[in-house]
Every structure is written in structure tokens, then in C-alpha cells.
Symmetry: C2
Subunit: 888 residues, 2 copies
Amino acid sequence: MTKKWVYLFSEGNRDMADLLGGKGAGLAEMTNAGLPVPPGFTCTTEACLAYFDEGKDFPEGMWDQVLDAMKQVEAETGKGFGDPENPLLVSVRSGARVSMPGMMDTVLNVGLNPETLVGMAELANNERFAYDSYRRLISMFGRIVKRLDGALFERRLDEYKAQTKGGRDTDLTVDMLKQICEDFKVIYRENLGEEFPDDVWEQLRQAIRAVFDSWFGPNATTYRRINKMSDDWGTGVNICTMVFGNMGEDSGTGVAFTRDPNTGEKKLYGEYLQNAQGEDVVAGIRTPIRIAELQRLNPEIYQQFAEVAQMLERHYRDMQDVEFTVERGKLWILQTRSGKRTARAAIKIAVDMANEGLITREEAVNRVEPDQVDVMLHPMFDLDAKREAQDRGDLIATGLNASPGAATGIAVFDSERAMVQAEAGEDVILVRPETSPDDVGGMLLSKGVLTQHGGATSHAAVVARGNNLPCVAGCESISVDEDEAQFTINSRVVKEGDTISIDGTTGEVFVGAIPTIDIDLAKEQELAMLLRWADEIRTLGVYCNADYPDDAERGREFGAEGIGLCRTEHMFFEPQVRADVVKMILAKTDEERAKVLDRILPVQRADFEGIFEAMDGLPVIIRLLDAPMHEFLPSREQLIEEVTRLRCVGEDPDELKEKAALLETVESMSEINPMMGLRSVRAAIIKSGITEMQVRAILEAGCRQAKKGVDVHAEIMIPLVSHVNELEHQYNVVKSVASEIIKKEGVEIDYKFGTMIETPRGALTANELAEYAEFFSFGTNDLTQMAFGYSRDDAEGKFLLQYVEQKILPVNPFQTLDQEGVGQLVSHAVEGGRATRPDIEVGICGEHGGDADSIDFFHRVGLHYVSCSPYRVPVARLAAAQAKLRNG
Amino acid sequence: MTKKWVYLFSEGNRDMADLLGGKGAGLAEMTNAGLPVPPGFTCTTEACLAYFDEGKDFPEGMWDQVLDAMKQVEAETGKGFGDPENPLLVSVRSGARVSMPGMMDTVLNVGLNPETLVGMAELANNERFAYDSYRRLISMFGRIVKRLDGALFERRLDEYKAQTKGGRDTDLTVDMLKQICEDFKVIYRENLGEEFPDDVWEQLRQAIRAVFDSWFGPNATTYRRINKMSDDWGTGVNICTMVFGNMGEDSGTGVAFTRDPNTGEKKLYGEYLQNAQGEDVVAGIRTPIRIAELQRLNPEIYQQFAEVAQMLERHYRDMQDVEFTVERGKLWILQTRSGKRTARAAIKIAVDMANEGLITREEAVNRVEPDQVDVMLHPMFDLDAKREAQDRGDLIATGLNASPGAATGIAVFDSERAMVQAEAGEDVILVRPETSPDDVGGMLLSKGVLTQHGGATSHAAVVARGNNLPCVAGCESISVDEDEAQFTINSRVVKEGDTISIDGTTGEVFVGAIPTIDIDLAKEQELAMLLRWADEIRTLGVYCNADYPDDAERGREFGAEGIGLCRTEHMFFEPQVRADVVKMILAKTDEERAKVLDRILPVQRADFEGIFEAMDGLPVIIRLLDAPMHEFLPSREQLIEEVTRLRCVGEDPDELKEKAALLETVESMSEINPMMGLRSVRAAIIKSGITEMQVRAILEAGCRQAKKGVDVHAEIMIPLVSHVNELEHQYNVVKSVASEIIKKEGVEIDYKFGTMIETPRGALTANELAEYAEFFSFGTNDLTQMAFGYSRDDAEGKFLLQYVEQKILPVNPFQTLDQEGVGQLVSHAVEGGRATRPDIEVGICGEHGGDADSIDFFHRVGLHYVSCSPYRVPVARLAAAQAKLRNG
């Protein structure tokens, strides 16, 4: 018995995509679901492979099976292939296992010849339509099957169009179309040395061959190589009855979503074009009507479609994007697939469907991409207004999409002026070559930030993301001139005060204003419901990174169950202590340092009091001072400039002396690779007193709040530890200060001692660190930097993005955790920590804490929580639930 | 039966140090070897612990055992404890498992009382000696046993001494000593409210208690804590017959080595003092004679000692440092231990002893510390001259001992001037704030290098070590002023041209000249023999790091079996291509870059030709360009200064414009953490053409040499790889260029493709890298930097040395590999590499390749070779042999 090479649509289902191709399996599924699909059948992918094995010959028995299947189709449609009275026309389409859009070939209207043509014209009572179909067949056949240059036909068609008034396809007269068909046959003959085949079976045979051949066409081959798809899959060929929407007023064609893809509302959404084929809609020849109007125009068809749409949703259990044709009052479904939708719609549809009982809550949670939640939380440009701006040429540059959201405001080139302007009520976009901690004040009052240098994890980007501030970073094509307070791009100059708009979601920079659309989270009931469902599912905790009481409150609103990272750097930048911090760094003796630390203490304590209050009942993990010391000092480069200038002018010897001395100090503290220099625990050990002061501030704040009835859970975290002895040293300091304060204050508060795991060596020796650490928090940013040997400040601007582009790296490892390399360190450390201390608390507070793929890994590796910026908390809640559903 | 708490010396041996303490076990060993040791016994460490367990009471049976043992000693000596006729005196000394020098207590002359005193005086025919011994007993007993302040006795003694002419101990008359004894007893009674005990058994009991008690004395407790010794060890107590060298002309005391500890020559070496006790030698009251003179003075005793010395060497199979006393013509050995010796002596003694058949060659190889070989290879200051310089106050500062060896010359503060001076025949010490690749020319012509900043792995240190150039780095106490060409320390100014001397072995900096002693390696036959033996034993290969043909030749002379690291950076700094290198970096297009690379090619090729020739028949591993790009550009800081000055002066707008443009470029390329920025394989991928040029130079050079009959084994190594795709990319480039050249040149040469493993991620994914790499070379410097998160340029100056001092780190991980952390990465990578490619070649080319402890690890982990600077090759050969002997 020969193999079964051909399946009627009624013989397949959606699980047979490997054999029938995706499209074939889909048509089969719809057919069996009782949907009105034009009858047809599929030649299998195996047939395709066998065809190539046979040296491009149909495998044994295949053509006979095609003939059998055609008989079935003729029976079902009551039409005859090549029958002049009631001709059957078919389309011949490719369909691989996975869609390869535009890569492979299709031939329509197969079955037309001078005889059936006449039958068609009569049947349709439309000679024009028949000749139009015929000329399409000839050119498509010539192009696809015979590899003729399509331009040969196009040029001829254009010549005829040029003779009409309107110049459009529809302006061609029937006579012209007749002539065009004749002309096309001549072109065909002259270029190929053979006649266009009148034999409809010959047409069919050649069309099938052509589709098979297209599997190894240059486009398809390249596409597969890039997308790592196998040549051994083969393509199916779908032969399907042609239906025509252009058979009169009771015909038409349309595309519709079963729900509104913008809002998610449960109503049909789409377009319908009367008396037209699908190509006509694409060509934009006439304006289609909205699907809702179809109800008025043709209530019967509307009703038919509405019912089918509901069937489709029930069958596929998702919102569908449906292509359909109405041929003389009869509805045909040509294609259906899950519809693309906005973030908002995705959420509403998922929640609604669960509430309707169509899907489970778990499925609803799985239906929304975590990043769609993120998009929901940020203002966007009005899409139409943005498109107009683009059309006007206002899009002047594109940088890194460093922090999502859109913003419009006046460009200001200095942090302090930005603060002044913002306080005066202006919307400000802070534009800087790059930002430093000194700019934070200005950033926080701005609507958005634009920097010339720095990557997606540059200072600007991190601060912006942490504060939900739109940011375009590393926009290297602009040239910022601080002194002139302007930036230039090509010859265009944007001066301070000029209005610009930035889109941190896309990285685009515009001149002029573009209106934005904000979202009020409190009103987003579906989102809230979805996240509640996610919370019920997930086992991974979600904390937030928060440095200020405000952040802490916001994080809590967004569902954070604790603070995973409270950085204390900002406390050293606060204006009332800034001068003392410099003195602290420059102190020559422990005593001198102790004196200034005493003045810094109350400021820190007050900050901690606010945070503990905001997080009443929840854990607060506080990282002790982490920044390199020189960050608190004036810039070396600027001092060189000043000293040189003063020396040159020679007018103010006292100032020169002072600046020169300061420069010398700054130079003695400057480091070649500050990221790996004197900072964090190293500074704490070398410069005694800092840890003592910070622990004192934390514990005193905790005790004071505890006395007021606040439920305080402080966790003190030592950064950048790479050797257990560093941790032991700090453990002794912390324990001694803490017990002194608890004794003095007379109130017992719950506090833990722990460490960041952010150096490879820390991860490798985590078993030892766990002797002192009651908790670990992975600093995956630094861990990624050191594992790869990438300085994030430099890499993203200098090579990392090119690496991703050139596919040297699959993703930016600062955005999505490198599970293969850095992940080994994480899982090794988790195991090591647990070996020593089985109940050790493990979490992650790097940027990866808000990234869905990374969260999946953290769930699998068994962390207790992820911590991310407040605005990423909802994203993380959803991603954590999906991780649980995916991995159990 | 009660436990055995007491062991006669004849009952123990040297393996019983845990039970008897080190000293007790040593005395027992000597006794059983038939050496003339004064009879005695040991109370065990278990007795000590039991004593504390009993609340400071002797455990049951111990005192009885002491009494029994004393009977044995009395029998052996023919003396009686407390016997006025022939009194036995004993010393009571502590002795823990491990020596704790000066930490614990000793009581001498136990057994003297008014009656035995008289007997002693008569026996010795020396009243003075008897009373002198008695006053020593009283004061020592008061101080040690009763914890009286020793100053009470010292002051009284000083009063008497003040009454004499000479003012020394020996000037005291017998009457004075008698009076002193009486006075001491009064002090004792008045301060303690009890009489000094006349009962000799009471003296003994209390002395033993006192030694036990000293185990938990504050000094001993602190010492143990610092040295991580256990409190649970306890101390033994050794009760030993006193012998007296001060019993007349036929008595004396001495210390001697069985061979010359300076040269290793086989002859007794030491000092002897007639009619004196050991303390007198220490006190320096009289000048002892050299041991050789004893032969003349008392041939009989000399002969006795010479025989015993030989016995000791045979017994202990090592050169011994012996303390002995002659009491009335009878030789007593009080202590023997392996003698300390110079590097030279260590080598000669080991080789001689093996040749004498006293030890095996393996033992000889084990007897020499690898670092002793290193010391041998470097010039040293003449020790006397150095001491004189210190006494004169010429030692002005101490920095890091960055590269061993001593040098004297004139201070020069600029690399180019250093070259000029050196070429004019001056000995130059280059003094710089820190060095950069620009300084290499000047460094190589100098006799030594002194830098203010930078650690033991700073540029200066690495280059200096690689070129056997004495270097003191990170000498932060001096302040170098380049403009003034001088440095200051405190108020002292050293100007260009002043003579200074530096000792890179110790880190010392002197003003003025100090003569140095050089060593001619060719004449060091014992060293050569030792190294040949080492080569027979070791299985680990030893390669050298060599960038120039000269280095390669030197490495080969020192025994290197290949070049493990040929850095190509210097080829980009060579004067004839320097300008092109800058153009290469600034090139805006691949074409522009290709053009300048073509001009660099021949220079590199010529270099490689020389190296291949020098290493005929041996492998040469060449690392492609590794340095950060900006290292080839002018300094940013300097440009800021120049631009500011030009702007200020306003005279030369053209120069200003040019410099400002250059500054802008430099700034656009500057990196915050260049160590982790655009360099190495990253630059090779981003800036195409560089790898192509280098591979072309290597292969063309290889082919040309091969045609001349040179046996070329080139290995091309990609640096800083952290992802397999980087390696794949470079693999394709290398293979394609190489096969083109091999085809063109028409000669087949042996070349391999491999990678550095120097990022943690590279190590973690070594299994993947081995898909392309035929060899791995560990860059343990960078691996250490990234595992710890230490920038070596910054860490050593800023905190690392303090870390080592404070014992946060056990050693400097840049000198000795951190086996616990970084070692995990190394062994993981070796396993991963072998899993993929079982015959992969693995080696190490970081600085650790010349460090003995690290070499032991590399042997254990199964590397094929270590590579180090040429001058460390002998060290590595020895260390590799020792590793084999240690681990098999």
C-alpha cells in the first residue's frame, strides 16, 4: 500500500502541524470544529521531502491521491474542476510547521481557462471579475511557477492603467482586462517559449510543484538559517476551494478580532469591504466599513459572523483574529489565529475570559506577558500624535530605551537649573552627557532624562528605572555641550528651554511636544485582579528596592512584601551632610573620622525611621555604604582644568593653593578601575567607624519605632564581600554595636545579619559566608560584571549592544540573567549557603529581579524572593506566578 | 593503674611531640641516639591538661611519677637532689607541641638552698659561681613562679653594680653576691609574706605548677590566638639536669652549626666561650672565640664536639644548629635543630649531602625553598655596607618589594631622559609616580625602578619582574614631582641626578650608593645540579613568558621548555608603528583601518620571526592584542591640562583646535573601568582587521622560518574570552587567514588555536570553549581580579596590603593563588575542558606560574605546564619537582 500523502481538511486536526504544516493543521481543525471553511486538502510535509528525495518528482501515489481528494472537493462544493458550467477554482498555498511569513509561495485562481472563465463570468454575472481573476492567475503562475520577472506583467498593467482617468485597477474596463489577459499570454509565451496551460490539471500539478520547490528557495533557506529552523521539516501544500467576495453586493471580505484588540472589550472589532476580495482591502482601493456597521448593512451576515466568532473563541479559548469572505451571502472562514493585542487588552481579555469560565485563572495568568504589565504602568505617547511627529521629521535621534515611559518638556542641561525650573512648574527633560549622583536631585524633579553616554545600566538608567522616570540613555548621535547649554545633532541645535519629547520605551527623541496618555493604576481593576490571582499561585516572594520612605510606600502599594534593597548612598549625598562626608573620607585619623560620623548619624537615623514606619511588619534589607569613595569627591578632570586655569591666570594664589591641594588628594584617591577598588566592605574595614555609625543609625531608628508600636524587621547587609574574613570582621562590628544599642534602648528588635553575593569568589565560597550570614542577597549586576569581566558603565556604550546585534551574545546579560554562566554561580552559592545553614534566606536584588526570564530561573533555583524597583513589582508578581505554573 | 604522666628522656622519641612537646621529644630523640644529653624527664602535655581539669592540681599519681623519675636522674648523674655533698640542680622548662618562642616560662637552678649552695661552691671550687646561681634562682623563682615584678630584683642588682668600677655583672664581688642573695630573699618575703622555700622538692613542685600555669598566661594565649593554635594542646614540662659551663677553664659553652650556614661549606661554624654559661654569651660580656680556634685551644673537646656534630647530622640527616656546654671537660648537648642557612648554603648543603649519600636526591630537592633559588639569581647589597647605610640614616623609605634585587644609580624622573643617561653610561634608577607602557623603554635601560603608586602587580612591578629589574613600587611615603624632577619625603628632597639605592627584595630605598654583589649563574654548579635533579622528578612543564627574542633565549638558558605567553602589546608600541597604531584606533571605517594595519604587519612579522628562531623546536604561545585601546592614546588628564592652558593663553588657536579635537576623541574612548572595557577579544571583534593582521604576521613569520629549517610550533591564543561565541568568531577568522597563508606559502606548519581562561564566566563555560580551543592558558591575574572584584592597579595601594596585615586575607592573592576561590574556577575549567576535548593542553601564564605554593596547586589540578618570567623559571622547576614529590 502506498503511503498517505494527502489529507482532506476533515481528516486532520491542530496537533498535526508537523505533518500538515501549521496552516493545513489549522484549516483541518476549523473544518472539524464545524466552521464554514472552504473545502480542500493538504499534501503533507512528508510528500514534500519525498518529492526532493525522488529528484523533484511526486512520490508514488501522491498524484492519484490528489485526484481522489479533488473528487471529494468537487462533491462537497457541487462544482467541477475544469467544468465550464460550474467551475471549481482552487488556491495552492505553502504551509510549513512554523509560519515563515512571506518566505514561500501561493498561486490563486488555479482552474481558470478560456472555458471556465466564461462559466465564472456567467455564474458571477460579472465578466469583469472573471477576467480580472484570469489575468491574476496568468501573472501569478508566470511569476511563481515559471520564475518570470513579475515586472514584465506589472509594466503592461501600468500601461493600461495610464490610459484610464483614475489610473487605478478598478478604473480598467472589461475590454481592457480582456486585452490584458491576451497580452499576458503573449508575454508568457515569448519569455518561456510555451503557451500558458489551458489544462487545469496541468495548472494544479505545476502549482503544487512550485510550492514544494519554494521550500529550498533562497528566501526560505536564509530565513530558516537565521531562525535556526531545520531544512528537514519540509512544507505542506494546501489546495483549497477559492471563494469570492467580489461576486456582488451580497459578497464581501473582512478581517475582524473577536474582541477589541486595543481595549479588550468584548465586541467584534474589524473591517468589512463589500463586493471585494482580500487583496482589495490590502490595496486600500476603497475604504472598508467597521464591522459594527455590517450589522446595519447586512444583519444576517453579521449574525452569522458573530456566531462563528463566538464559536472560534470557544474552540480556541482565546481572542481570534479572523479572515473571512462572504460569497453570495454565505460566510467562509479563511483563516483564524490568536489575535495580537495591546497590553491593556491582553490583561482585560485574560481576566474576562477567566471570569466567563472560558479559561482557568492559571491560564489567564499565563496569557499576559509580564512586560505588558510594565507597559501598562507607564505613560505613552498618543500613537497618532507620535506618527504625525515622525511624519513632520521631528524624530531626531534614537538612543537606548533605558527606562520606559514617554515624556515631554523643556530641555535643561544642568541638574540644579532643572530643579529650579521644575519647582517653577515647568515640565523638564534633563539632558546630560552622562549623570552622576550629583544629578539625582535634578533627575527626580524632571519628567524624563536624556543622556549622550552610558548604557542600559548606567547611572542615569538605573536611577530612572528605580524612579519610574522615562529615560533615553547612550544617545551617542547627539553631542551635548554643557557650557553652551545645548545639544547638536547633525546641524540641528537644541537649546536650553526648547521643548523635546522622549520615549523611554523605544529610545526615540523628538523635537517639539507630543501629548502623552497616562494610566491611573487604581482604576485598573482587571490588572489588580490578575495580580491577585498571580499572588495566589506564586511561591516566590516579591520585594522592592527602595531608598526612601516614598519608594517604600509606593512599593507596598504595588504589592511588595518587603524591601529587598535599601541603598544608603543617597544618605551621604544629602545636602546637610555632604560637606561632612568629604571630611569623613579625607580624615587622617580614626578620631577625626569619628567626629564627622557623629554629625552624619542623625540624618541617617531619621531616614531609617521613615522607612521602618512605611514597611511596618515587613522586612527591610539595608545595604551598608557601597559606593566608591571618590564618588563623593569633586571631579578630578574638573580640578585639573581649574588648577591649570588658575595657574595660567596667576591672579589668585590662595585659591590655586587650595585647589591644587584638593586635586592632589583627589588624585591620591582616584582609581583606575573604581568599580573594583576601595568601596563597600573594603572601605568599611579600612576606614573604621562607618559601619558602626550606620548600624547605630539603623538600630536606634528601629528601637525608636518599635517603641512607637511599629513592627520592625531590619536586615543589615554587607556589600561586595569576597572573603569570609571580611564578613567575620563586619559581623563582630555589627553585633557589638547592635547589642550595645538594644541594651541601651531597652527594647528587643528583630534584626538579621547578612551579605550580598556579588563577587564570583563570594558565590564560590558561599558555604563559608553562611557561617556568619543569616541571609544572602544576590547582586546580579556586579556578579554579571565580574563573571564576564564587563564594566557595565563602559560595555554597553562600547561593545555590548553590538555583541547582541551580531549575536555574539544571545541577550544583554545586564537585562536578562546569563543562566549558563552567572547562573552557575547563583545556584552554586544557594547550595553552598544551604549546606552550612539550611534555613538561610536567599533572594536577589539586582536589576534582574524585575526581568521575567530571570525570575523563572530564580524560581527554579529556589530563591525566597526577588527584589526590584517599585514599578517592576507587578511585573515580577506575574512573572513569579508564571514561573510557578511553568516549573511547579 | 594511674596514667603515665611522666616520661624519662630515654622513654621518648621525636615522633612524640604531641605528648611530650617539641623540646621534650627532641631531648628524648637525642638521648636515644646516644648523644650526651643531660639526664631528665618530661611531664606530658596530657598532665598539663589534666592539671587544669583538676582545678590546677596535679593529676593523680603525677607527683609520685616525678619523684620516681628524679630517682632515676639521681642514679644516672650520681648526684642527689638536695644533697649538700653532691647536689643535683635541674632546669624546669616549658615545651609545647610547637615552639612558642619567648611566650612561656623557665626556671633554672632549681635545687639550690643554703645547704646545697655550699656543696656547689665546694664542688665547683667556685663560691662566686654558686652565689651567682642562687641569686638567679631567687629572682627567677620570684618572677616566674610568684609573678613578682622582675624590676624589684633588677633595681637592687643595679644598685650593687653601680658600686663597682666596671658596672657589669662580672664586676660584682663574692661578698656582694652573698649580700644580694640575702637582699633578694628580703624582697621576696616582704612582697609575698612568705619565705623563699629552702625545701628543694617544694621548689620543684612550684616550678612545675608555674610552667603549667604559663600555658594560659596572657602572652601565650594571645600568641596562640594569632597563630591559630589550639588551647587544647597543653604544654609539656621538661625537668633536666643543670650542667655548667662556668666551672673553670675546662668548662665552657657554645653554639655551632655543623656546616657553614653562609656558604654551605662542610666545616664546623660557630662560637665558643670558655668558663661561661649560655646567658653570658647572649649578654655579650666577653667575646667568644670561633669554633675553629677551639681546636687549638682544646683539641680534645673540639674532637668530641666534631664527632657529636657528625653524629647529629647523620641522625637528623640535615645541617644542625647545636647548643652545647662543656662541664669540666665533658661535653653536653643541650639542644639541636636544623640550622637556618642562606640560599646559597641551602643549595650547596642539599647537593653535597645527596652526593655524600646522606640524603637522597629527592630529599635534596625538597631541602631548598624555591624562593631561595630566586634570591640566588638576583644581585644583593653587601650586607655590611647596607647596615652602615642604615646606621647613617640613609634608609629614607620602604615601599613594596615588587621585584627582587638591589641596585644603585642616579635618580631620573623621566623615561626618555633615563634612556639618554643610560646610553651615556650612567647607572640610572627610574623614579616615576607610576609607570605606563610609554615608560618601558626607559625602564629596560635602567638598573632599577622606584614608583610612588601601584602595587605588586602594577605595570612597573610586572615589567620589572619580567625583566629581572629591581623594583620598589607603591612607595607612598615619597612624593614625586615630575615637573620639578624630584621627590620629597618629609622635608628631604632628592633631585634628579642624586644617587639612590633600592632593594627590590625588601622594598627599602636609600640615599647614596651601596655596593652590590652579583652572582654568575654559570658558575653555580650545585644549583645547576639541583635543578637537573628537579627536572628528572617533575612532571609539570615549565615555560617562560617572553615578548622578545632576547627574553626567549634567556628563558631557554634558564631551562624553559617553551614560551607560555608571548604578549604582542609591545609590538604596537614600537616607535616605527606607534603613529599608525593611533590611526588604527581612530579609524572610522574598516578600510581605513586595514590600510594602517598593512603598515604594522611587517614589524610584527619580524618580531615573530626572531622569537620562532630562538625557540626552534619548542612551542610558542602567542596572545593576540590584549591592552585597552586607550592605552595607546595620549593621557586624558594631560590633554585637559594642555587644552585649558591653550584656551587660557589664547595665542595658538590652531593648536588649541587640534588638541581639543584630540581630547574629544580620547574622552569618547575613555572608560570608567578600562580593565573590564573594550579590549582583547572584544576589540578584535568590534574592530575587524586586527586579528587578521596578527595572524598573518604569525603565520607568515612561521612559514618563512620553517622554510629556513626552523621547527616552528605556533599557538595562537585569544585573550579575555567569556562567551563561546567570541571564540567561535575568532576561530573562523584565524582558520581562514591561516589556511590562506599556508596555501600561499606552500609550507605546512604546526599551529594550534586556543584561549586564555581569565574571566570567571570563561572558566565556568570551559566545556563550551573547548569546542574551539585546542589549548587553555589560565590568566590567573585577571581571574583573581574578577573573582575577588579587585582591580590589581588599585587594590594593592588602597587596601590589599592592609588586608593581608590585618589577616583579612591569608596572603596576597596576586602573589599566591587563592586555591579556595579562584582555584575552584581553575579546576572546574580543567574538568570542563577535558570533558569536551580529552587531550586539551592546559597551562597557566599568570604571575602565579612562578610561585611555589601556586605551582603545587597547578600540579595537583593536572596542568601540563606553568609559564613564568624567565628569571622565575629555575624557581618553578624546583617547585614543580617538590609538588611531584609532595603529591605524587
